[in-house]
């Protein structure tokens, strides 16, 4: 069992109503954290979570040819470094789920 801290930004903390929280996970990847642990804990907004974070096809999370879910313009950092969804979580990891960053218009 490993303990990880998850941080939410922008519209994600609006959806979940929380900016960060901890999870105890059993030999899990980031994909499993995003697809199972987080929506299970926040069951009331699980559909909204999936639709916001992942690309979906007819309401189902889209999967790539490697069997990994496809993020919808979101990025994942683990302890400040960009990371793939198949990363296996380690004790003490800080996972930040980043929505598209928002700037001003150039024109």
């Amino acid at each position: 069992m490993v303990k990880v801290r998850v941080k939410y930004f922008g519209e994600l903390h609006d959806i979940l109503g929380i900016r960060e929280e901890e999870y105890d996970v059993e030999d899990a990847t980031i994909a499993e954290l995003l697809l199972k642990y987080i929506p299970d804990r926040h069951a009331g907004v699980a559909d909204k979570w999936r639709e916001t974070v992942f690309a979906t096809v007819r309401g189902e999370v889209a999967i790539n040819k490697d069997g990994m879910p496809i993020l919808k313009n979101h990025f994942i950092l683990v302890s400040g470094k960009s990371t793939e969804l198949n990363y296996r979580l380690k004790d003490g990891d800080e996972i930040a789920i980043l929505p598209p960053v928002g700037g001003g218009n150039a024109k």
């Binding site: 941080k7 930004f9 960053v101 928002g102 150039a106």
Partner: protein, 139 residues
């Protein structure tokens, strides 16, 4: 090089003096000031913006961008400050200063710095208008 995110930006003149003192080789200082516009994307009246940031990562990302610009254009130095928290119409939200030997590389660097700031640096902006509030995405 200096980067900072804060709920209160430093005085712009003090930043200008600070970057001037970096080197006697400086021949141009180009400054960008971002401020809160009173009209939203759909023409509605803006009440305020609310910025939030992934602190720590913002600073590292900005330092990397400035370092890249030094390598690419040979600029002498840069300072970037970005506001977090609420910002009202007319309030300054970004100061970016680039010091270079000549104006050409300064202008190019500043444009690239701001574009990368808007697209790569983990800062999010919520626009609060008279009709509601929205998270803004880069375009």
């Amino acid at each position: 090089m200096k980067v900072k995110i804060s709920d209160k930006l430093d005085d712009l003149n003090s930043l200008l003096n600070e970057i001037k003192e970096t080197s006697t080789d400086i021949g141009a200082i180009i400054i960008f000031v971002g401020s809160v516009r009173g009209l939203g994307r759909d023409g509605e009246r803006v009440l305020r913006l609310e910025y939030e940031a992934y602190e720590g990562v913002v600073e590292k990302t900005l330092e990397k961008i400035i370092s890249d610009l030094k390598d690419k254009y040979g600029i002498i130095d840069a300072i970037v400050e970005h506001k977090i928290g609420p910002a009202h119409v007319g309030e300054d939200t970004v100061y970016a200063l680039v010091a270079s030997r000549h104006r050409e590389e300064g202008f190019k660097s500043l444009i690239e710095l701001i574009e990368r700031l808007k697209h790569e640096v983990p800062i999010w902006k919520r626009e609060v208008t008279e009709k509601g509030s929205y998270w803004i995405k880069s375009t």
